[in-house]
Symmetry: none
Subunit: 196 residues, 4 copies
Amino acid sequence: MNIKAADQSKRPRRSDQSRAAILDATRHELIEHGWRKFSVDQVARQARASKQTIYRWWPAIANMCVEAGLDLLPARENKGRDPVERIGDLLRPIEQVAKTSSGHSVLRSAFLAASDDPAAGETFRAWLRDEIRGPLRMILAEIAAKNVIRRDFDLDGALDIFMGPVWSRLVIMRAPLPEDFSRHQAEHLLKILSPN
Amino acid sequence: MNIKAADQSKRPRRSDQSRAAILDATRHELIEHGWRKFSVDQVARQARASKQTIYRWWPAIANMCVEAGLDLLPARENKGRDPVERIGDLLRPIEQVAKTSSGHSVLRSAFLAASDDPAAGETFRAWLRDEIRGPLRMILAEIAAKNVIRRDFDLDGALDIFMGPVWSRLVIMRAPLPEDFSRHQAEHLLKILSPN
Amino acid sequence: MNIKAADQSKRPRRSDQSRAAILDATRHELIEHGWRKFSVDQVARQARASKQTIYRWWPAIANMCVEAGLDLLPARENKGRDPVERIGDLLRPIEQVAKTSSGHSVLRSAFLAASDDPAAGETFRAWLRDEIRGPLRMILAEIAAKNVIRRDFDLDGALDIFMGPVWSRLVIMRAPLPEDFSRHQAEHLLKILSPN
Amino acid sequence: MNIKAADQSKRPRRSDQSRAAILDATRHELIEHGWRKFSVDQVARQARASKQTIYRWWPAIANMCVEAGLDLLPARENKGRDPVERIGDLLRPIEQVAKTSSGHSVLRSAFLAASDDPAAGETFRAWLRDEIRGPLRMILAEIAAKNVIRRDFDLDGALDIFMGPVWSRLVIMRAPLPEDFSRHQAEHLLKILSPN
DNA sequence: AGATAAACGAGACGGTACGTCACGTCTTAGG
DNA sequence: CCTAAGACGTGACGTACCGTCTCGTTTATCT
C-alpha cells in the first residue's frame, strides 16, 4: 500500500483508469465491428475518453488493438514436465481465451490488425518472439541435445508448423480450436521434427 | 474464377472492361494501402469507373478484394504422379503468385478481407472447398485405401496442418514462402498422417 | 420559324400516352419533393417511361415542369362585360387551380422552376405574354381611350401591380389566395391607374 | 442579422471565420448555379470548410441560403419623416442590394430557397415579420388613426400589394427594379388604402 | 403484307453530389 | 501536466441522381 507512493508522487502521469477503459472499449469495438470498420470515435465515446488521450499513448490504432488482444492472454505456466507438455503449454493461453466467442473474436481481430499494419506488426512480433519463439527454441534445443529430434531443425519452419493451425482455425476459418489442440500441436511438431 | 458466357445473350449487360479495370485498381489499392485503409473512392477513381458500378456487381467490398486476389491464381495443374507431388500441386498456384512482392501483398490482403468480413468469407471458403479441401480429400482417401496413411484421418485437421504454414508465412508473418514450400508441406502432412 | 408543322405529317411520332404519363408524374413529383429535390429518375420510374423519352422531348427539366404546371390551367373565358370583370378574368384560371392544395403546389413549383432556370423562363414568359400581358394591354388601352385611366400608363408597372400579389401569396408566402382575389386585383389595378 | 458575441465565453465555440467563408461561398454558388443546382460540396470546397461544419450549424441548406441573402441587406434607416417616405424606407435595403447584378441574383435565389423549402421559409418569414410586416403595421396604424387611410385595412392584403411587385420583378421576371421603386410602392399602397 | 425507321422501356455506365461518419489535429476548461 | 469535450479540415462511406449510351421491342407508315 505505502510502497508505490514513492515514485508516483511526481507528476500526473498516465491514467490507468483511462487505459483500462480504452482497452475494454477497443475489445468491444473489435468484437462488434471487426478490424476494417473499427472506429476510434466509437472507442472514445464508449470509454468516455478523449481521442487525444488515445492518440497520445498509442503510436497507431493497430498497436492499440494488438495490445487489447494480447492483454487478454493469461500468463504462461511453466511447470517442468515432459517436452510435449511444455511445448503444449505455449499455446494454452491462446487456447483458453479462444474458447469464448468474444475472446476468439478479439484475438482474431488483433492478429488481423497486426497483419494489416506493418508498424503494429512489431508489437505482435515482439510478443511472438518472447512468448512463443524464444521458449520454443529453448525447449527444442534441449530435446535436440537428447537426440529426440534432429539437431539441425529450422526454427522458423518449426514455428510455421506449430502456429500455422492456430492461424488457420482462429484467423482464417473463424472456427473454434478443436479439443486438446495444444497437446496435438506439440505432438505433431515433434513428429515432424523426429530424426528417423 | 471464370464467369460463364452462356447467358450473356439476355438483358443485364455487364461491362467486362469495367470489371477488369476495377479488379486491377483493387489489387493496386490493396498493395498500396492494405485492407483497413482500402478506399473504394480511390478504386473508382483509378479504374475510371462509377462507384455505383462497383456496388452493383459486388455484394460487399471484401468480396471484391477476395475476387481480385483469387483471380491472380493460375489454374491448378493435375498431372497424375505420386501422391506427394499431387498434394504439393494444390499449393503451387499460391506459391507461384506469392513469389512476387505484389502478388504476396494482394493475396495477404485478400485473405485478410475474407477473415475480417464474415460475408466475404463465403467467397473465400467456396474457393478453399473447391480448390484445396475437395481435391485434398480425394487424394487422401485414395492413399488411405492403400494404407499409406491412417484410414480415420480428420480432414479438417489435415487442412489445418497443410494450409496453416501458408497463413503463417503469407498472412501473419508477411514473409516469403521458403524454397520448395509446396513439396515440404505435402511431406509434412503425410508424415503426420502416417499410421505408425 | 415554324418548321415543325410541316414535318409533323412525316415520321417522328410522339407518344401522347407517354407525354401525359410523364407530365402527371412530374406534377406528382413537384408536389411531393418540390423543385430542388425534383428527380427525373423518379418521374421516369413513376411514369413507366424511359429517361431517354424525357430528354428527347424537353430541352430541360425546368421546361417540363413549367409545362406541367401551365397545362393545369383551364382556358381563359372571354365574355364581354365591364372592364373590371374582363381584367379579373385573366387571373381566374390561376385562382381556380390554386384553390386545391395540389394545384397550388404544382403552380408554385412550376413558377419556381421558371425563375431558377433562365432557359425555362422563356416558356413561362411566353405564357405570361400571351395569356396575361397581351390581353391586359388590350383592355387597358381600350379603357384608357375612354379616359377611365391615365393614357400614359406603364404596362410593365401595371403588370407588377396586377400579378405581384399572385406571386406573393402563391409562391412566396405559400398561402391560399383570398376570397374574390381576381376581382380585387382588377379593382386595385384600376385604382392605381386612375387619372385623378 | 447579427449574432451576438456575448455567450461565446461558454463551450460550443463556433468559428466565425468559417461561418463568413461559408456564407461568402454560398452567395457565390447561388450566383453561379442558382438554387436547384446549388452544390454543398462546391461551397465546402470553395470555403475550405468541412461539410460537417455546414450541416452542424444550419438545419437545412435552404436556411443557409436565406441567411446568406438576408445578410447582404444593410440595416434599415428610421428617420422620422412623412408616412410615404417611412413606408418606402422598408424597401430601400432590398432596392439597394438589387441594384447590383450579383446582389439581385443572390436575393432571388435566397427567396427561391425560402419558397421551395417549407422549413427554411420560417427563417424568411421571421425576417419578413420583423423587418417589413411589423414596421408596416405600426406606420399604417398611425396614419389610420389620422384617417389618412381606412381604419379597417387588411394588413396581409396590404403586404401583398406592397411586396408583390418586389417578388414580381426580382424573383419572377429576373428584371431590375425600376427607378424610385420604393417611393412608388409606398404611394401605390396608400392610394389603394385611401378611404374615399 | 412486309419492310423500315423512329420512338419506346429498360437499365448500365462515368460522373457528381448527397448527408453521415471517421480520422487525426487542435483549442478550451477543469482537476 | 493530463484529461474530457468537441469543433475543425479532410476525405471516405454507400446511395441517389444526372445525362448519355446501348440494347431489343413495339408501332405506324411507306413501300
